[in-house]
Amino acid sequence: MKYPVAMDKSAEVGRRRRATVRRQSFESLYLTYASSAKRLAYLLTGSEPVAEDVVQEAFLRMFRRFGDLRDPDSFASYLRRTVVNLCIDVGRKQQRERRWRGAMAPQINQSSPSPEGAYETRSEMWRALLELAPRQRIVLVLRYYEDLTESQTADVMGCSVGTVKAYASRGLQALRQGMEP
C-alpha cells in the first residue's frame, strides 16, 4: 500500500521528534549514571582506562536497546548488569588469551607483601582484591560497595543466592588470610 505524500512527511516528523526526545533522555541518563558506572567498572577491573571503555560500551549497548526498555526506571539496574557482564567478559578474555592484556592490566602497586603477611597499606589489600578470582571480586564489590543484598547480587550476576554466598565467603576468606599476622 502507498501512502499520500503528506502522510509520509508527518511520519518522518514524528520519527525525528521521537529520536530527539530519545537522544535527550539518553544524554540525561548518561550524565546521571556514567560516573557511578565508571566507579563500579573501575572496582571490578582495577583499571581506569578499561573502566572508561566498559562504561562507553555499556552505554552504547543501552542506547541501542533504549527503545526496547519496558521500564525506563530500571535503567540503573540494566546498566549495572551490563557493566558487570562486560567486566566478566573482560576477565574472561584476559584469562584466555590475554588479548586485552595491554589495556586490561590492573593498575596495582607491585610492592611486596609485608613480612608478617598482614596488609600494611590499603594498596596491598587492593592488590589482594584484584588478585581474587573475578567472580569473587565482583560479588564483594556488589555486596560491599554497591550495598546490594545477596539476592540482588545474584540477580545481577545471573546466579543463585547460594553461589553468591559461596563467592563472598571464599573471597573474604582469601582477603582475611592477608590480615593474619
Partner: protein, 632 residues
C-alpha cells in the same frame, strides 16, 4: 574478624572509587559514537542488500587476483544454549564446551544438536574451566583460576585433576596424542611472564617434567598435523616445540605479521596459521614449516579465531555486533567472497571443527552449528521431542551409549543388516549404502502419535513411522526410536525399505529376557562348594547345582562375576561362548557382572542363556570340575 575484614573492604572500595575521575564530558562523544554506529549499521545494511558479495570481496586485500574456492556457502543449522561458554572442542562422541562462569562442561550430541550432559567440574578442579581440548578419548580442561589441568573421562564422566601446573599460572593450553601443553600466564601488571616457562604434561602419566623443559615468553600454543607451535605475539616469534622435551626451536622472529594486539594460532593442513588484529581488519599469516615461507592476507573484522576442517581453514572475526565466518582455501589463501554473517556478541567467541560442521560459541551462552559439508543441503534440525541420556533411558551415570537400550539398538541395527560405524554421546552412527545415519532411542513416555503431532511429524503411509523431513520416529517395545541423517540431508530421501527393515528388527530383537514358561531357579544341593586351591590364586571347584531334566527353560542368576566366570547349572559347569562381536566385552556386561536371565536347553549338553537385556548366548556343558580365577 569477619566484621573487621568487611569493614576494611568497605572503606577500601569507597576510597578507591572516590579516586575515579568523572567522565560526564564524554556524553556528547558517546552520543555521536552511538549515532555513527547506527548510521554505519544502516549503511552496511544497504550495502549488503545491494551488493553484498562485491562489498565483502572488496574488503579482502590481496596483491594478486586469485581464484575463488569452490567450497559451498556454510549454513547455520542449529543454535544451542549450552551455558556460559568460553571454549569449545569436538571429539569423543560429542562437542564439549567449557562453561567457565558456570563451572561446568556441557556435552552436545551432534546427532540431535542438544546438550545431553552438563557436568559440574569446578568442585573437582577448584575453578571453572576456561579451555577444553579433546584428543582421542580424553577431554582435557584448563582450570586456570586454580592453575590445574583437569581430565574428564567421556566414558563415565569422571573429573579429576591431571596436573598442577604450579605458581607460574596457566595461559593458553593445547593437547595432542602425546601431551597436554600449557604456557605460563603473564603477570597482568608488568606484561612479563611470571616465570619463563611453558609446561608439557604427559597425557599418559600426568607428569609435569622438571624445569629444563621450559620455553620463554610464548603466549599462545596450538597443536596439529604440523606439530606443536608456540607464538610470542609481542615479539613476532614463532617456534616449533619438540614433542618429547618441550624445547622451542625458533622458526621466525621479529616477523611483523605475527604481532598484534590480539592474536590466535592454529595448526592445520600442514601449515601454522597466525591471526593478528591491530585495527578493524584481521590479518591471517600462513607459515610453511617446510620452506619457512610466510604468506598473509587481510580479512574484514577483527579478533579472529580459527579452526581447520578437512577442506578449508575457517576464520571467525567480528565487527560491531556481528560475527563473520570466512572460509579460506589453505593452499591458495583464496577467501570465500561472502562470509557467513551472524548477529550477536562475538568478541569472546570460540570455534572448532567436528562432525562435518564448524561450531561457534557466541553471545556468552550459545553454541551455533554451521554445516560445511560440500554439496549438502542443511535443513534446520528440530529440537528433540524427548530427552535422552542416562537419566531418561537407563540408570547409568555415563553416556547413553553404555545403557542397555543402546546395546539393544546396536543389535537391532545388526539384525537389520546394517553396519554401526561410530557412536556419539546419545546416538549410534550407521552406514546404509551411500547414506550415513544417526539412530537413537528414548523412553516412550507418551504415545508416539502425540509426540508426532506436537513436533510436526507426518505419518508415512508406507511405513509405521513418522517423519518431519529431518528424521523418522516410531515406537517399539516401550521405546521411541529416531533416525536422522548424519550429513544433514533430508531424511525423506532415504529408501522406504531401510525404515521397514529397522522397524521390523526393532520389534523382533528382544529387549529383555522372555520369562514366559520359565521354571524356578533350581536350589543348590549345598552351600559348601568343594574347592581345591591351585597355584596363582586359582581354584579347582566342583558344581553344587542339582540335576534337572534336560529340557525346558529355567530362571538363572549369573554370579557376581558374570557368566564368563562361572555357570553352575544342572550339576555341571557350562562354557559361555563369546559372540563374534564380543571384542573387549563392552557390549556384554553380563559376562562379567551379575545378571538375571534364563537358561533354555537346546540339547543334552547345549543350552542358551538369555540375559536380562535379551541377548542370547550359547552354552556348552563342561565335564567334571573346572578351574577358575578369583572373582574380584
Amino acid at each position: 574478624m569477619s566484621d573487621r575484614i568487611e569493614d576494611r573492604l568497605r572503606d577500601l572500595l569507597a576510597e578507591r572509587a572516590a579516586d575515579v575521575t568523572g567522565n560526564e564530558a564524554a556524553a556528547g562523544t558517546l552520543i555521536r559514537k552511538a549515532r555513527v554506529w547506527r548510521i554505519g549499521i544502516a549503511a552496511a545494511a544497504v550495502v549488503v542488500a545491494a551488493a553484498s558479495a562485491v562489498a565483502a570481496a572488496s574488503l579482502v586485500f590481496s596483491p594478486n587476483p586469485r581464484p575463488q574456492p569452490a567450497t559451498p556457502r556454510p549454513q547455520t543449522v542449529a543454535t544451542i544454549e549450552v551455558g556460559r561458554v568460553m571454549a569449545v572442542d569436538a571429539g569423543a562422541g560429542g562437542v564439549w564446551t567449557a562453561n567457565y562462569e558456570d563451572g561446568t562442561v556441557a556435552l552436545v550430541d551432534p546427532a540431535n544438536n542438544e546438550v545431553v550432559k552438563t557436568i559440574r567440574v569446578d568442585d573437582e578442579l577448584g575453578a571453572g574451566p576456561s579451555d577444553v581440548h579433546v584428543v582421542g578419548n580424553n577431554v582435557w580442561l584448563s582450570a586456570s583460576d586454580n592453575m590445574v589441568v583437569g581430565h574428564l573421562d567421556p566414558d563415565n564422566l569422571d573429573v579429576s585433576v591431571a596436573a598442577d601446573v604450579g605458581s607460574a599460572g596457566m595461559g593458553d593450553m593445547t593437547a595432542n596424542a602425546e601431551a597436554v601443553w600449557v604456557v605460563a600466564q603473564h603477570d597482568p601488571a608488568s606484561f612479563e611472564p611470571l616465570s619463563s616457562h611453558g609446561t608439557r604434561i604427559d597425557s599418559a602419566t600426568s607428569e609435569v617434567p622438571p624445569p629444563g623443559n621450559e620455553f620463554a615468553l610464548y603466549t599462545d600454543i596450538a597443536a596439529g598435523d604440523a606439530g606443536v607451535w608456540a607464538l610470542d605475539e609481542s615479539e613476532g616469534t614463532l617456534a616449533a616445540i619438540s614433542p618429547l622435551e618441550g624445547r622451542p626451536r625458533v622458526a621466525a622472529t621479529g616477523e611483523e605479521r605475527f604481532t598484534g594486539a590480539q592474536a590466535d594460532i592454529a595448526v592445520g593442513h600442514g601449515y601454522v596459521w597466525v591471526e593478528t588484529s591491530n585495527g578493524p581488519t584481521s590479518r591471517l599469516a600462513r607459515f610453511d614449516p617446510a620452506t619457512s615461507e610466510t604468506r598473509s592476507i587481510s580479512v574484514d573484522g577483527r579478533g579472529g579465531v580459527m579452526a581447520a576442517s578437512p577442506d578449508a581453514l575457517w576464520l571467525l572475526t567480528h565487527r560491531d555486533d556481528q560475527g563473520l565466518l570466512w572460509s579460506i582455501d589453505p593452499e591458495t589463501l583464496a577467501v570465500q567472497p561472502e562470509p557467513l554473517t551472524m548477529n550477536g556478541e562475538f568478541q569472546s567467541a570460540a570455534i572448532t571443527y567436528g562432525f562435518g560442521s564448524i561450531w561457534v560459541s557466541h553471545d556468552f551462552n550459545l553454541l551455533s552449528r554451521i554445516a560445511t559439508e560440500p554439496g549438502v543441503e542443511s535443513p534446520t534440525i528440530a529440537p528433540s521431542p524427548d530427552p535422552r541420556g542416562s537419566g531418561d533411558v537407563c540408570d547409568l551415570q555415563g553416556p547413553w551409549i553404555d545403557c542397555p537400550e543402546a546395546r539393544w539398538l546396536r543389535r537391532v541395527i545388526a539384525e537389520a543388516r546394517f553396519e554401526v560405524t561410530g557412536e556419539t554421546a546419545s546416538a549410534l552412527r550407521m552406514a546404509v549404502g551411500a547414506h550415513e545415519l544417526y539412530a537413537w532411542n528414548a523412553t516412550a513416555s507418551r504415545p508416539v502419535e502425540d509426540v508426532a503431532a506436537d513436533e510436526g511429524y507426518v505419518r508415512r503411509a508406507q511405513t509405521d513411522a513418522f517423519s518431519d523431513g529431518t528424521r523418522f520416529l516410531w515406537e517399539a517395545q516401550g521405546l521411541h526410536l529416531y533416525l536422522s541423517s548424519a550429513t544433514n540431508q533430508p531424511i525423506d530421501r532415504l529408501p522406504t525399505s531401510v525404515i521397514d527393515r529397522l522397524i521390523s528388527a526393532s520389534r523382533t530383537v528382544a529387549r529383555e529376557a522372555d520369562l514366559t514358561g520359565a521354571q524356578p531357579e533350581p536350589t543348590p544341593t549345598t552351600q559348601e562348594r568343594r574347592s581345591e586351591q591351585l597355584p596363582g590364586d586359582r581354584s579347582r571347584v566342583w558344581p553344587i547345582s542339582p540335576d534337572v531334566p534336560d529340557e525346558g527353560k529355567y530362571l538363572f542368576t549369573a554370579p557376581h562375576c558374570g557368566i564368563g566366570w562361572m555357570i553352575d547349572f544342572d550339576a555341571s559347569f557350562w562354557d559361555a561362548i563369546e559372540p563374534d562381536d564380543y571384542g573387549e566385552g563392552e557390549n556384554y556386561p553380563f559376562f562379567y557382572n551379575s545378571d538375571e536371565g534364563t537358561i533354555t536347553f537346546t540339547g543334552e549338553n547345549s543350552a542358551v542363556y538369555q540375559a536380562s537385556t535379551g541377548e542370547e548366548i550359547l552354552l556348552n556343558r563342561l565335564p567334571g570340575p573346572t578351574i577358575i580365577d578369583p572373582c574380584e
